[in-house]
């Protein structure tokens, strides 16, 4: 196994294999009500409290499309630079399961609402484009709970009928790192659009992972296995590594790979067979006769286009062009919409004399460290963008030193305190009066005559000693630049 940047190759007996990955991401549409009923979609409610007669498939109940979910899917399609289809069709995918009340899932099979598009990944070695095959709308099923009652399976239908977008990629991904970048980019785009919160813990984002391997350089696709319903990026990566190696081993042993559906066992870190191609369900797809084909006009799509906010790729470009932020920093700042918002607010509050480098460093350095430590999102930042901007401006205009700023930053955490007030109350203002500093330095030189002589004789290292003494004597408040200037003159 070798690793070069994000490349992932498997070496066995002089053969070098690459892995080919395609993802079917199931993203829950951000919507207050379900795809075909008015029930709430709120997460975490008591079981079976968000279930309408339609969701529970009572006799004579009929689905009625939720226009908001349609708009969300189209917006997502626009975010994926994809073709929006003026006409799409809802089909029934028929199978029996206890948590599937209708006995079929309403999905889109032949005619999805969104066609081909693409997503740009920022990889260490450069940008990579991943093709999107399609995006379609479908209903989620309920949840079967097997571990509450010893002899019965219980069913919670709260999720039944919740709108999902299934986003199918082309088999363009080649490594666990690319999968990581792809999922994060997809999630970022959808969060910008407000179409999916991307919360993997709550199951808002899950994926079926299709994996095959082939000798590097080959253009043929190998037989693929589909790993069902993986609900974290880490597990996706683990599943891919396990599955790719399993397939390589089989090939090296001269065996065939069976096209099959597999499950990833997170405890044992292995995939295992769920059903073979021969046992695959015959879903008997056919157009749902309860629903008319979904038709959207160009005007409808154009109106939605006009509502699309600036997306990560454009924002990144603007940060680079307008704010002169490095591409590396820009990628970090735009990856999450709330970070980008925070950054832009800091920039706005800094006013005319803004210092971008300081802003980027303070956000990605000190602030991120605090957020990580407290395990919170930037939207819950204990320091507001307004006060962070003030702090940066205090550094920029020489009121405080960078070192003092770190002390003030710590104090600000306790209730988002205005740094100006801390400076005044604690007397932390930087000493920039040359006369006062000269007096201070004269005293230090007097107290350390021998060292001053050594310095003059060429022991230049001692300069740092005098700076340190001066800072110490000023309680850290002395303007370092002035100290330097005065020391050079006096020594």
């Amino acid at each position: 196994m070798s690793k070069n940047n994000s490349e992932y190759l498997i070496e066995r007996n002089d053969n070098v294999y690459e892995v080919v990955i395609g993802l079917e991401v199931h993203a829950q549409v951000t919507s207050n009500s379900k795809l075909f009923s008015s029930s709430s979609t709120k997460f975490g409610a008591e079981p079976n409290t968000q279930v309408s007669l339609v969701d529970a498939a009572f006799p004579g109940m009929l689905p009625v499309i939720n226009e908001f979910c349609v708009k969300q899917a189209i917006k997502t399609g626009i975010g994926l630079k994809a073709k929006i289809n003026n006409k799409s069709v809802f089909d029934r995918k028929n199978y029996f399961y206890a948590d599937l009340p209708q006995g079929y899932q309403i999905s889109q099979y032949k005619y999805p609402i969104v066609g081909e598009g693409n997503v740009i990944l920022d990889m260490p070695e450069g940008q990579k484009q991943v093709g999107i095959e399609r995006l379609h709308l479908e209903q989620d099923a309920g949840k079967s709970i097997h571990d509450i009652d010893p002899s019965n399976t219980l069913v919670d239908l709260n999720r039944s009928g919740v709108a999902l977008m299934e986003i199918v990629s082309k088999p363009d991904l080649r490594s666990p790192d690319e999968v990581n970048a792809y999922i994060k980019k997809l999630r970022s785009i959808m969060r910008y659009l407000g179409t999916c919160d991307g919360n993997m813990q709550e199951g808002s984002l899950r994926a079926d992972v299709n994996v095959s391997v082939r000798i590097k350089g080959s253009t043929d696709l190998g037989t693929r296995c589909e790993i069902k319903n993986v609900n974290s990026i880490k597990f996706m990566q683990m599943a891919i590594i396990y599955e790719a190696n399993r397939q390589v081993d089989l090939i090296e042993e001269g065996q065939e790979i069976d096209q099959e559906t597999r499950l990833f066992d997170t405890k044992k870190n292995e995939t295992r067979s769920m059903r073979s191609k021969e046992d695959a369900h015959d879903y008997r797809y056919f157009p749902d006769p309860d629903l008319l084909p979904l038709e959207v006009t160009d005007e409808f799509i154009d109106k939605l286009k006009s509502e699309i906010p600036e997306l990560p790729d454009d924002k990144k470009k603007r940060f680079i062009d307008e704010f002169k932020v490095s591409p590396y920093d820009a990628t970090i700042l735009v990856s999450d919409i709330d970070t980008a918002k925070y950054f832009e607010e800091v920039v706005a509050k800094m006013g005319k004399n803004r210092d971008m480098k300081l802003a980027v460093n303070w956000i990605t350095g000190e602030l991120f460290a605090v957020l990580n430590e407290k395990n919170i999102e930037i939207a819950q930042s204990p320091i507001s963008a307004k006060n962070l901007a003030k702090l940066i401006n205090l550094i920029k205009n020489g009121t405080i030193s960078g070192k003092i700023a770190k002390t003030i930053f710590e104090l600000m955490l306790d209730g988002d305190i205005d740094p100006q007030i801390i400076v005044e109350e604690k007397g932390l203002k930087q000493e920039s009066d040359p006369k006062a500093l000269e007096a201070l330095i004269d005293k230090i030189i007097n107290d350390n005559r021998e060292k001053a002589i050594e310095y003059k004789q060429g022991k230049e290292k001692l300069f740092g000693f005098f700076v340190g003494q001066a800072m110490k004597a000023s309680g850290g408040k002395a303007n370092p630049q002035l100290i330097n200037e005065i020391l050079k003159k006096k020594l």
Partner: protein, 485 residues
């Protein structure tokens, strides 16, 4: 009191409005007669006590502005009725009591109608003789041991036996018109999308349509006006301007062009049907209509198309009856075993047959050859009608290829049973309005019906032609109340 039950809906409304009959008197008459008519087995669930109570409440606070002021009405047991058991004629829903009301029945109650009870029907409306009902055969009031037609057999029998002034059925392939024809009554299947399907137990969603069944054409026009409405809860409901069907009803059909499709002259059709049709053509001419020969070239494919499309949709629509959420549940070793036992015990033979046919035609490898092909043929059948309507205003055909048959006569021969729908299914496949009116009798004195098919949303013309011909035909059922003797 017997004269109350033999009144038409129009007459009953008039009497109630003129306070000659109270709602409670009417309810009592129908309940009393029902008590003496158990033998014909029209009721699956009686709502008599509640009906008497509600009729009294109506009389205490009458509102004569309503279109059905205090009128007791029994409905097919395919309509979900709030707090009243709804079985769809099936064991699998034997214990099912909805907490909601179908839009069509709600429309009736909103206009003052009062539920008498739920009428027997073929299981999930799959049948042409009411013999597939879990709740037993229904007797045709015309003669003992004669089927009342199906699937709305309880509805047609209740009407003919004067057990309800008017009723509603559902028609997927002829389930309103064929039983109307078999019982000497009137049955109208409206344009697909005219009456909401919300709350109606689904058989084949793209074909199902509720409609009025009545003793004469005027009554159907009154009831259609009540039940037809645009409903946002049904995505296939259509928002078109509905006529005031009863007040716009006229016998003036002079100059209307009525088409006679040559393809409906099928092989082996009894002579008396041919004669009836010819008689119908003469009546139409007498009414001032112009008769035009037309062709509907794909007619012979309608029945096979129907028997692919309808079972396909049914196989999926009936998947929800799995013992998990409501209805019958048989115990099983595990989930699959429970499914199998529940559905084996819950569904009857005809339902199982259609679920299997539907599953087959949708299966991978067969989908294109059956379901997809059938959908294409369905388009051709629609186009046949579109083209015909460039030349004519309506089409006249027999309603059925024969009169009512004996109970048990065809129950072991599904294909011969399916042939009953030969003249009615093309209308469902094309989504058109069609009415069956009684037009004569066969050699046994069993009623025979004629069907008038209209343009989409043109129920008014269909009703007007029927109204006009009805006067000329002047058909009267000869019901002897044999079941009471």
């Amino acid at each position: 009191m017997s004269e109350i039950t033999s009144l038409t809906l129009y007459e009953l409304i008039k009497n109630i409005k003129e306070k000659k009959i109270s709602s409670n008197e009417a309810a009592k008459s129908f309940v009393d007669r029902a008590e003496k008519s158990k033998k014909i087995n029209v009721y699956v669930t009686e709502n008599f006590e509640n009906c008497l109570k509600l009729s009294k409440e109506f009389d205490d606070k009458p509102n004569f502005d309503l279109k059905l002021p205090g009128i007791p009405i029994a409905v097919k047991d395919l309509f979900c009725t709030n707090e009243v058991r709804t079985t769809a004629g099936s064991n699998i829903l034997n214990n099912f009591v909805p907490t909601y009301e179908s839009t069509v029945t709600q429309n009736i109650w909103n206009e003052g109608g009062i539920l008498l009870g739920k009428l027997n029907c073929d299981e999930f409306a799959m049948g042409s003789s009411n013999e597939t009902s879990y709740f037993g055969n229904v007797q045709n009031p015309i003669a003992e041991d004669l089927v009342p037609g199906g699937s709305s057999g309880g509805s047609s029998a209740a009407l003919a036996a004067n057990l309800t002034p008017v009723t509603i059925g559902t028609d997927t392939g002829g389930s309103i018109r064929q039983p109307a024809s078999f019982t000497g009554t009137v049955g109208l299947k409206p344009t697909y999308g005219s009456c909401s399907r919300y709350g109606i137990v689904a058989f084949a969603s793209s074909l199902d349509q509720a409609g009025p069944m009545s003793k004469d054409v005027k009554d159907s026009s009154i009831l259609l006006e009540v039940i037809s409405s645009f409903d946002k809860k049904d995505s296939t409901s259509i928002d078109f301007k509905r006529n005031n069907y009863s007040s716009e009803l006229t016998r003036n059909i002079k100059g209307l062009k009525i088409g006679i499709p040559k393809e409906y002259r099928v092989d082996g059709m009894p002579d008396e049907i041919e004669k009836l049709w010819k008689k119908g053509i003469e009546y139409a001419k007498d009414c001032g209509a112009e008769i035009v020969d037309i062709s509907l070239p794909h007619t012979s494919y309608a029945l096979p198309t129907y028997y692919i499309v309808a079972p396909a949709e049914a196989s999926s629509n009936l998947a929800r009856y799995d013992g998990v959420k409501y209805g019958l549940r048989s115990s099983g070793k595990n989930l699959i075993d429970m499914y199998e036992k529940t559905r084996s015990e819950g569904f009857g033979e005809e339902v199982k047959r259609r679920v299997m046919i539907g599953t087959y035609v949708l299966s991978s490898g067969y989908y294109d050859a059956y379901y997809l092909k059938a959908q294409k043929v369905r388009q051709l059948i629609k186009q046949d009608f579109d083209q015909a309507y460039n030349k004519v205003d309506a089409i006249l055909t027999p309603s059925t290829p024969s009169s009512a048959f004996k109970i048990g006569e065809k129950s072991n021969d599904p294909v011969s049973m399916y042939l009953n729908d030969i003249f009615t299914v093309p209308v469902n496949l094309a989504g058109l309005p069609g009415i069956s009116i009684p037009a004569g009798v066969d050699k046994n004195n069993y009623p025979l019906g004629l069907q008038i098919i209209g343009k989409p949303f043109d129920e008014q013309t269909v009703l007007n032609i029927a109204y006009s011909m009805e006067e000329k035909i002047n058909y009267k059922n000869n019901i002897t109340d044999w079941w009471m003797k």
